[in-house]
């Protein structure tokens, strides 16, 4: 007796391997915290495997995106509530973090951003960094639609299903996102 087919495990493994990095980047665009982004991707993968692991592989991209976007939204809400309480409590309690070294924070941030790029790739990495920053600035729904349509290569129907909205809304979100990004990049002298 076995609990699932070997072929479906293999298929799921391939599917997860093909989307995990993009999923991480998507979570990073929205949450901007590496640890939380990794947790979100892990949760989304586990939920997909547990609940939809036996569904046809063609349904996985849409289902995974739906799970991932919901997890991102939940995490965003939680962090908002947490930061509200932290602000409230820190305004009440005295600042006992005077010994903290601000350089440590800067060092940690530099490390996670991966600034050690070879000189030859500087221009390319600068372009990438600019695009990523502009994607982060997009309104969440526009970013979701844009990334699902063009990065995940999902069609309009799948994107609409994953986002829980109409096909028309997906088109509008995508068009607005493309327009905003193009304008922002052009303002920085970048033409794709």
């Amino acid at each position: 007796m076995q609990e699932y087919t070997l072929s479906s495990r293999f298929e799921l493994s391939n599917f997860l391997a093909s989307i995990e990095r993009r999923a991480f980047k998507q979570a990073m665009f929205a949450i901007r915290n590496e640890e939380t982004a990794l947790d979100i991707v892990q949760d989304a993968m586990m939920r997909l495997a547990e609940k939809y692991g036996t569904r046809p592989a063609t349904e996985w991209p849409m289902l995974f995106q739906r799970i991932l976007q919901n997890a991102i939204r939940d995490s965003y809400r939680r962090s908002k509530v947490r930061s509200m309480w932290t602000t409230l409590l820190s305004s009440i309690s005295p600042n006992d973090d005077e010994d903290a070294d601000p350089l440590e924070t800067i060092e940690a941030e530099n490390g996670s951003a991966g600034l050690a790029t070879p000189h030859q790739q500087l221009e390319r990495s600068q372009l990438l960094a600019t695009i990523e920053k502009e994607i982060e600035k997009l309104p969440p729904r526009q970013r979701e639609a844009f990334l699902m349509r063009y990065w995940e290569e999902m069609d309009i129907t799948e994107t609409a299903e994953a986002m829980g909205c109409s096909a028309g809304s997906v088109k509008t979100h995508c068009s607005r996102a493309s327009h905003t990004l193009a304008v922002a990049l052009r303002a920085k002298g970048i033409e794709l």
Partner: protein
């Protein structure tokens, strides 16, 4: 290809480059996450299946088991309800019996059982109640 789509795909090419330069630790964590997820695949599904017809088998099996589960639940519920009804009726009968015997024991003096008139009245009363 319209302007938006073209822009979207150009952006995609640039974004894809960023995937190769991900931190080694992040890549390894993602790999671990994938393995954890795979270990949890299809926990509720049982039986060896042949690739291709596995899904059809799954559908049939899940439909059958979900129907059987529902049927069992309904049966258990009706058995429970019937049992509860009979148990209540039995308890109630026992209560009445106790009350009746207490009433009879309390209110009827032992001398009444020796009284012929009382016996005659009792027979008349039971006859009339039967009619």
């Amino acid at each position: 290809m319209n302007e938006d789509t073209e822009f979207g795909y150009k952006t995609r090419q640039i974004l894809n480059r960023s995937l190769d330069s991900l931190d080694v630790e992040v890549v390894s964590r993602l790999h671990q996450a994938r393995q954890t997820a795979l270990n949890r695949q299809g926990i509720s599904v049982r039986g060896l299946r042949i690739a291709g017809i596995g899904n059809f088998g799954n559908m049939l099996e899940s439909a059958f088991f979900s129907n059987a589960r529902n049927l069992l639940a309904v049966m258990a519920l009706s058995v429970g309800a019937t049992g509860a009804y009979y148990w209540n009726a039995f308890e109630q009968a026992q209560e009445y019996e106790e009350i009746d015997s207490a009433l009879l024991a309390d209110e009827l003096p032992p001398s009444a059982y020796l009284d012929r008139g009382f016996h005659a009245w009792l027979e008349r009363a039971s006859d009339s109640s039967l009619q």
